[in-house]
């Protein structure tokens, strides 16, 4: 079937098989390999992207079901070699990534959390851990990631006056 997806702000038109997964379209069809595949069962979170602003596991979404939506992948968050977003910078400072395989999924998933709390209360540590439940990491033990989110929230709250729209944590609105 013929579809259109708006990926990282660009309309992409293509023909998809009915059983094609969004992650396949992104990685194989569009060459956006920043999104990773770590499992077959929707457990690991390496494939998280944002679909109409909400983080989803792209290995659990049929491309057809996403037709017409706005998709943001890790490639849509920063430009190649470009400056890091607040969240990425905070994760860097806390060394919240080691092998990096889980990282794009974490950044996409956590970006939503940081964004959603930028002008309200900062997430508590348990809330951050709860939010991370869908993302598996075998290297870091998660602690540096949690510290990174705390740091990012602090930074974004320091920079963004309360009530202003959109933190800069993931660099762009979807």
């Amino acid at each position: 079937m013929d579809l259109t997806l708006n990926v990282n702000g660009r309309p992409e038109k293509f023909t998809a098989q009915p059983n094609e997964l969004l992650v396949e379209r992104l990685r194989e069809g569009l060459g956006l390999t920043g999104t990773k595949v770590g499992c077959d069962t929707g457990q690991c979170g390496s494939c998280v992207v944002r679909l109409d602003g909400r983080s989803v596991k792209s290995c659990l979404v049929l491309t057809a079901a996403a037709a017409g939506s706005e998709v943001t992948t890790i490639e849509g968050v920063t430009t190649t070699g470009g400056e890091l977003t607040g969240l990425q910078e905070a994760l860097r400072q806390e060394h919240g990534t080691q092998c990096g395989f889980c990282t794009p999924g974490m950044v996409m998933s956590l970006g939503e959390l940081v964004d959603s709390t930028a002008d309200g209360d900062a997430p508590t540590e348990p809330e951050i851990r709860e939010w991370l439940t869908g993302n598996l990491c075998r290297c870091t033990g998660y602690h540096s990631v949690v510290r990174g989110v705390q740091r990012a929230c602090e930074a974004s709250r320091a920079e963004v006056p309360a009530g202003s729209p959109a933190s800069t944590a993931v660099g762009q609105e979807v």
């Binding site: 990685r27 194989e28 060459g31 390999t33 920043g34 999104t35 990773k36 595949v37 770590g38 499992c39 077959d40 069962t41 457990q43 690991c44 390496s46 992948t73 890790i74 490639e75 968050v77 920063t78 190649t80 070699g81 470009g82 890091l84 990425q88 994760l91 860097r92 400072q93 060394h95 990534t97 080691q98 092998c99 990096g100 395989f101 889980c102 990282t103 794009p104 950044v107 540590e125 348990p126 951050i128 851990r129 709860e130 991370l132 439940t133 993302n135 598996l136 990491c137 075998r138 290297c139 870091t140 033990g141 998660y142 602690h143 540096s144 990631v145 949690v146 510290r147």
Partner: protein, 822 residues
């Protein structure tokens, strides 16, 4: 979920001054030249990873790539009667279907670690090496997932779809999945060449002395332990891309590997029979490994062979379920262990009998992991007069055994630390007091543990006391009472360990049965512009090598680390080396970098004499420049020297132009990091759930290159160990089916499974390398399982519970709370 403290980083740094111990060996203090070594520099790899820009093997798309899928056996043990591939060949997009019959001239994968000093039985290998599995199995399948056939097609989906059209007729054979069962009379036989499924009966220590000590002991305690099989589960599954160039006859393999050079050697010379210099192996960014990606797997050979056959690059990427059914698994010992001691807490002997499950085939180094790495470590931090360990390493119808983060040492620590607690309980003494009483005293280093290892250096008392203090061990009775008031049972468990790292001295390893050198090398090239390139034979699987090796070189040369670029992981570019395993990169490759930098400095002092016009003994190299002693005006900077050496003008014949040096580092002996961990758990009386509410770890990895990087590795390692204690278990049913074959059925720790840890370190440099470094990456995986199980048993001890098997699931605990037997 509970937060204990977030002070990890601060505490680690604070320890730098407060808790540094003296080196006891002959370690020279590392000359921390410009002070960048030992600093928590940000990892330079991280930005790329955070932007999703790093290339993993699945991200490699060469023009014209075809895709491979592997048909694994659905049954655990059977004769293959026939394979019909015709239907599969007709399917759309299919380019080739291949079976064992297509690869009759390809050698089986070799096993290169054959337990030393014993008669070992292996399947035959045509080159006289111990044989492991063939690249495809043609006659008998021996575990679920045993590869039988491959399909190459235009797309991954077409390749996967075609697998189901291959028809295989099996004649089922009886199945055995446990090591002790496999050794019984009448058990199903896996390999004709291996009588009774016994790969090796291996021992270490002094049996007579140990038996005698046990016979006369005031107290003996015994335990039957199951160190359950676990699956490493790096988040990136394995993958491989083969690219044969018909014009040059050269092969390139891109693979998720921990040891590109080693894989190049094994594949070219021993499996494919192609010249060593026609195979290039490239490890792109590797998404975690924890031991699994250092092994040779059939897919690595298959993508190369099929690329040649089809004239196109061939790519294979595993699935999670595929990984669980084909990538080496860890642990898996069933043990009977005995400890003897006096009534007042002096341990006099320890003896272990272990049945190790090697799986269906000997993996590249699995037999050594199951024997020497485990057995020689069992006495841990204790000064014990008599110790003995025997291992029966057996083949069964399960996935092959290999390394798993902390491999061997974690199994050893578990058995010893469980025994110490059992003994303390028996004599009514505090478990901390028993440990304190038996620690190897500082004056006894180097210490021969009587099991084959000689510990290099240590101050175990300082380390132990720090862990007791930091965990507030003395305050535990009050915490127990407080928890009780909330309806929870609180338990505290201690585990100490010594981990052998820095593999290693090649000759020593050959005596352990390692067929290969285990040295490491580094090259440093100084470019005319003053920039520096470091290349090493090791290969990162997420350990920030690019950052840390740059720190080492910069520190030695007295230059800015930003001037230093590090390359590794490509056999075409990097000097030889064995790769990343056993927490060896910082204590093996980094010393090679440091020694190379020292060669360069020595050369620059010689050349400096020429350039400065003074005698050599008047030349000082310091802070990235040379100058005349007593006349610092007469100087040349590093950049000036680099350019001058590039031109080579005016150099006497004994000084070669250019700055390019290499070192092969083979240490005199291993190094032995150690530490003490304390777990505090709370058990919910109603549900049986165990929550780790506090975790304290004090580790000693000698001098540390980058504390930020090491902190991350320690945290990840502890979480990995907690996973084994609480939830991880590779479950096989009686038919040999791996029940826990995906992440819905194999539990990995998630972010809420542990609070922040309280971490500290002591620092006892190793005398066995010029940096005073000890292994760090995986050492903190060694004690957590023992610490947690000790804590759980402590919490349940008033119910008469003396042991509980891992993983400590709520169901198991709940049954014990109701008075049911294990």
């Amino acid at each position: 979920m509970t937060t204990v403290t977030g002070e990890t980083t601060e505490t680690v740094e604070a320890a730098d001054t407060a808790q540094t111990t003296e080196a006891t060996g002959t370690a020279e203090a590392a000359p921390y030249g410009n002070g960048v070594l030992g600093q928590p520099l940000d990892s330079r790899e991280d930005p790329q990873l955070l932007r999703g820009e790093a290339t993993y093997v699945a991200d490699i798309n060469l023009p014209g790539t075809a895709h491979m899928a592997i048909l694994g056996s659905p049954v655990a043990h059977a004769k293959i009667l026939s394979i019909d591939t015709k239907a599969a060949e007709q399917l759309p997009g299919v380019l080739k279907v291949a079976t064992a019959a297509d690869f009759t001239d390809v050698m089986p994968l070799p096993c290169i670690w054959i337990p030393g000093g014993v008669e070992s039985h292996f399947p035959p290998h045509p080159y006289g090496l111990p044989g492991a599995r063939p690249v495809l199995t043609g006659d008998t399948v021996r575990h679920v997932g045993d590869p039988i056939a491959v399909v190459v097609a235009e797309t991954p989906r077409q390749a996967a779809a075609a697998l189901s059209a291959i028809e295989v007729a099996y004649e089922p054979l009886p199945v055995v999945t446990l090591a002790d069962e496999a050794l019984k009379e009448g058990a199903p036989q896996l390999h004709e060449a291996v009588p009774g499924n016994l790969n090796a009966y291996w021992t270490c220590g002094d049996k007579d002395r140990t038996d005698a000590a046990i016979a006369v002991a005031e107290v003996t305690v015994e335990l039957d332990l199951v160190n359950q099989r676990t699956i490493n589960s790096p988040i990136e599954p394995r993958g491989a891309v083969g690219d044969y160039n018909a014009a040059t006859g050269e092969y390139t393999l891109y693979a998720s590997t921990q040891g590109p050079h080693n894989h190049r050697f094994l594949l070219s010379a021993l499996v494919l029979g192609i010249p060593f210099n026609k195979l290039r192996v490239v490890a792109p960014t590797v998404g975690g490994s924890f031991g699994t990606k250092g092994y040779l797997y059939p897919d690595m050979a298959l993508v190369l062979l099929l690329s040649k056959a089809l004239g196109r690059p061939v790519k294979w990427v595993d699935t999670r379920t595929g990984l669980m059914n084909s990538t080496v698994q860890g642990r898996d010992h069933r043990q009977h262990v005995v400890l003897a001691g006096t009534r007042d807490g002096r341990i006099t002997a320890v003896r272990a009998t272990s049945y190790a499950n090697l799986g269906a085939y000997p993996s590249t180094i699995g037999p050594g992991v199951a024997t020497a790495l485990m057995g020689r470590s069992i006495s841990g931090m204790y000064d014990i007069d008599a110790a003995f360990c025997e291992v029966y390493a057996a083949f069964t119808n399960t996935v092959s055994l290999g390394a798993q983060r902390g491999s061997g040492r974690a199994e050893a620590a578990f058995l010893m630390e469980r025994l110490v607690d059992r003994y303390a309980c028996e004599i009514g003494m505090d478990p901390a007091a028993v440990r304190r009483k038996n620690l190897v005293p500082k004056e006894k280093f180097p210490y021969d543990n009587g099991l084959g290892w000689t510990y290099d250096s240590g101050n175990y008392q300082l380390n132990f006391d720090r862990a007791m203090e930091l965990s507030d061990y003395a305050g535990m009775p009050a915490r127990k009472a407080e928890a009780r008031a909330r309806g929870k049972r609180l338990g505290v468990g201690i585990a100490s360990y010594v981990a052998i790292c820095g593999v290693g001295p090649s000759t020593r390893m050959s005596k352990e049965g390692m067929l290969g050198g285990t040295w490491e090398s580094a090259n440093i090239r100084v470019h005319p512009t003053g920039e520096v390139t470091v290349t090493v034979g090791s290969a990162s699987t997420g350990q920030s090598h690019g950052t840390v090796f740059a720190q080492v070189a910069a520190d030695e040369l007295g230059i800015d680390p930003a001037q230093v670029q590090v390359y590794e992981g490509d056999t075409l570019k990097a000097p030889y080396g064995q790769g990343t395993y056993g927490s060896r990169s910082y204590s093996m490759a980094a010393p090679a970098v440091a020694l190379t930098a020292r060669k360069l400095k020595a050369k620059l002092v010689k050349a400096g004499a020429v350039f400065l016009g003074v005698p050599e003994d008047k030349v000082v190299y310091e802070g990235g420049k040379v100058y005349e002693d007593g006349n610092p005006e007469n100087t040349k900077t590093f950049a000036e020297l680099a350019m001058a050496m590039w031109y080579g003008w005016g150099l006497p014949p004994e000084i070669e132009p250019a700055l390019d040096e290499t070192t092969h580092f083979d240490p005199p002996d291993f190094n032995y990091p150690f530490g003490t961990h304390v777990a505090v758990v709370e058990i919910d009386e109603l549900t049986g759930e165990t929550e780790v509410v506090a975790y304290t770890a004090v580790d000693d990895a000698g001098n540390i290159g980058n504390p930020k990087v090491v902190l991350g590795q320690i945290e990840g390692s502890i979480m990995h160990g907690l996973g084994q204690a609480l939830m991880e278990h590779a479950v096989y049913d009686e038919n040999g089916l791996l029940v826990s074959s995906d992440l819905t059925r194999y539990a990995l720790p998630r972010a809420f499974d542990a609070p922040f840890f309280t971490l500290d370190k002591t620092t006892t440099p190793s005398p066995h390398n010029p940096l005073g470094a000890k292994g760090a990456g995986e050492i903190a995986t060694v004690p957590p399982a023992a610490a947690v199980v000790n804590a759980v048993v402590d919490a349940l001890s008033d119910l008469g519970v003396r042991h509980i098997d891992m993983p400590v699931t709520p169901e198991k605990v709940w049954r014990r709370l109701r008075g049911e037997a294990q």
